[in-house]
Subunit: 510 residues, 2 copies
């Protein structure tokens, strides 16, 4: 979930000063409404050392009524706390009905420390993550609104901040040995963090990953996110009460109150795709040379897939006319035709339409030793089905966790999973559409639906952005392919596939 | 979940013949309604070898329209199925919308076989159970109605059936080596089964444990249970549609369809408490002798609890005036007063009332080396809160899983958990109430509420029956104490506590 986050986003001091006071006033009003409605609110801040989580909390609480909230700084467990099951001390700190509890670090701190210092086995790690999911689910089922923020900075930015703090004797103490250790092992910690975020990103307690490079932008986004979530929850309660009232008026008093949704307004989606640099190109000659070499390697790796009996999934999503088909063709050209199957995924029909949306992908999974290539995939659930309204809001929101669970099953089984988002600009898409209209042998590729989808570019972009964040896991990362230049895009796909397969199956020599 | 099941219940042939055809007709009608409503229905049958799961399935399908259903006999995975993740073959068999899929054995077969033959580590076992919970949750979230039956017989009954089958050459082949192995290792398999049932008993896919000694009773109960569940689901859909319709009429078209409840009608609750033999008594002299010895042992075990730094929970539920207080007093008399704390649990007040219902028990957990005694407990959620309507239906239904998760946390931490249900007859309760009214120093014990609760005896009994089944786990079993005779009841409690503590901490010698 940390891939693709834009760390360069900033906000001017003027804008900050213009927007913050108003936001703080609105939060103050909402705080009282939350108290009256008796909603327990749990907001936690985790993130890299040096992101000043307490600064973010202060910006939030400065104007709030302190009687309605409680800040919990979480340190390692004290001796007496070790006398109890590990979640004990967190149960004691859950917000009461109508209270806002803010956690500066949380249960995640302990689990992450265990793992990064290699005190825990993979089984313990998995168990801890499940303990957390259960804990948060129990609270959410009881009506607790949970917001989890991960404050993200780069390794370089972290180092810069440490240096800055250390240069002043008044702040030097803030940088601990542990912090410096984290900076030295940034890459390893990052893998752990990402695994933790995906395992614990559930519909009832979603992670919100925010770039923390610019503090003003960070503080505004946090406040706005919380405002939206609380607002949505309060609306929800009002609607539910109205429905109950209506039901009672109509005579059929229904005992079962409609369960509250998680009160999740739209979460802030980081802009990923509009940051992609589409200016890369590749000359024809270099392209041909590279292509030939990569395809030869791929041929050998295809044999290795069979020899080692590993199943492989290569999955392509992206804009219409972004070159999915072209990339797939370059992959399969030299492969043994028995080695792979290409599945083109359009709207489900027949049996597929009559089952759970994952059914048709379970049916089409590659067996051991096979390569399954998906031209579009299960991600349709959070792309086309979301944008076109074929899936209800709770259905596509739930799907992120379902898809992560699904892919975890595949990976635990030994599958290699590569996921590509083929990216082009709207202008380039238009150019390609028009070309398709005029070139006879390309006409069949263009449908009315393509034109319709094009009109919803912004919606699709938002859906893709959220998908890229929520479903990029260490074991199944997304690769964004800059495909504005077809040659560049194809080579990037092939290079990525070769790299991943060599990592998993061993290097091959030509 | 297998404790306390009454295996002696039978039904006469006449009654069976009188009720079955009518039931089959109703199911036939419901089958068509399910098809029209597009509800996928998944019904699975697991149970001891020799319970004739296919017999139960036949009784069910005999009058159904075969086009609406599909029977899946599950055998060990074939070679090609081993080429895929283990749930693959079950995904391929999920019911389509409007279809009823009946499983003769299921995913549980494979997992259970792995464990009982000790092919799997505890971590693998836990992982498999979680895989199942995830799988079933994904289907339920998609609207699948899931019914899971466990057919239960005793070891002796199983042996009798095998002998009967083997005595006839036409049926002898049905008894496999594997079956005979199961009968020899009945006790060990039972522990595994019980652990599996509790780990996978979730609000969206509850287990229904049925005594299978009498086939007629079994077949009727299965058919009735399924009828009720399908009926409840169809009602649910009708209500939801009506609500949407109403909402649209009222102008505020709500995009979010109210999520369907699990369509769970009341599950059949085995009668446990009315089978309890309340005729046991104990003479005064023997009582005194035993009491003295047990208390002396308990004193030593109390020291051992401290020495080994193990936390202990002793928990008492039961009828008003059933002798909870008296039993607790006999436990604590000789214990070091620093060794234990007694928590009397009435309606929550103050902080406790303002938090999740488990909060007040997390707060009161015994630390390492302590004994926490609970006079009433977290089980109030599924007893008084259920019966008095303080908890909504979905809240108390969810609570079985929450409580099992909670106790699993405690046990994984090393806690010893003993749970007692103190049982008396209504007549005995009346006698004790009247005694309390007349004996001056006992008057304080009797409140108006006691009389009110007494009027709801049947409701409380049903709630207690269901609680005893759903929350009796191998690591935290319920002990039903026949407390009609106070002396007998107290000695049974003390014996059980001493036994459990000796099992966990080692034998003590007087």
């Amino acid at each position: 979930m940390l891939d693709h986050i834009d760390l360069a986003h900033t906000i001017s001091k003027q804008e900050y000063k213009a927007r913050l006071p108003d936001l703080q006033m609105r939060l103050y009003a909402i705080e009282r409404a939350v108290q009256q409605a008796g909603v327990p609110v749990l907001i936690l801040f985790e993130g890299w050392a040096g992101t000043s989580k307490i600064g973010a909390i202060s910006a939030l609480t400065r104007r709030l009524d302190p009687r309605g909230l409680r800040v919990h700084p979480i340190t390692p467990p004290r001796t007496f706390e070790q006398q109890y099951p590990w979640l004990y001390r967190f149960w004691l700190k859950i917000p009461s009905y109508g209270q806002i509890a803010l956690f500066d670090r949380s249960w995640y701190r302990e689990v992450l420390a265990e793992r990064t210092h290699e005190d825990s086995t993979p089984e313990m790690w998995r168990q801890r993550c499940e303990d957390i999911v259960t804990f948060e689910r129990q609270l959410a089922d009881d009506g607790t609104l949970i917001q989890k923020f991960w404050l993200h900075i780069s390794r370089e930015e972290q180092e810069r901040r440490f240096e800055e703090l250390q240069s002043d004797p008044l702040t030097a103490w803030q940088v601990t040995d542990e912090d410096r250790w984290q900076n030295r092992h940034y890459k390893r910690v990052r893998v752990a963090v990402e695994d933790m975020l995906t395992r614990t990103d559930t519909p009832h307690a979603r992670w919100i990953v925010l770039p923390a490079t610019d503090r003003r932008a960070l503080h505004l986004t946090i406040a706005e996110t919380i405002e939206r979530a609380l607002d949505a929850r309060l609306d929800n309660i009002a609607n539910a009460q109205e429905q109950i009232h209506d039901a009672q008026q109509n005579g059929h008093a229904d005992n079962s109150v409609p369960p509250l949704s998680s009160g999740m307004a739209q979460l802030p989606v980081p802009s990923i795709l509009n940051q992609v640099n589409l200016s890369y190109t590749l000359e024809k000659e270099e392209y041909s040379k590279k292509l030939k070499k990569l395809q030869a390697k791929l041929y050998l790796l295809g044999l290795e897939v069979y020899r080692q009996q590993r199943p492989v999934v290569l999955l392509f999503e992206g804009w219409d006319a972004a070159g999915k088909g072209g990339a797939i063709q370059r992959i399969t050209t030299r492969l043994d035709p028995r080695a792979y199957v290409v599945h083109t995924i359009a709207a489900p029909t027949g049996e597929d339409r009559l089952h759970h949306y994952l059914y048709r992908f379970w049916r089409r999974l590659p067996a051991r030793g096979q390569i399954g290539i998906f031209d579009r995939s299960w991600y349709g659930r959070v792309l086309v089905e979301r944008v076109e309204g074929f899936a209800r809001t709770n259905e596509w929101q739930r799907a992120y966790a379902e898809i992560n669970e699904f892919e975890r099953d595949l990976i635990d089984f030994g599958m290699v999973v590569c996921k590509f988002w083929m990216h082009i600009s709207p202008d380039e898409q238009l150019r390609r559409f028009e070309e398709r209209q005029t070139v006879e042998y390309k006409k069949w590729k263009l449908t009315d639906e393509d034109w319709r989808n094009r009109e919803k570019w912004a919606d699709y972009e938002q859906a893709a952005d959220e998908m890229l964040v929520r479903t990029s896991t260490p074991a199944a990362p997304w690769t964004i392919v800059e495909a504005e230049n077809k040659r560049f895009g194809r080579i990037k796909v092939l290079q990525t596939v070769v790299q991943r397969l060599e990592d998993e199956l061993g290097r091959v020599e030509l």
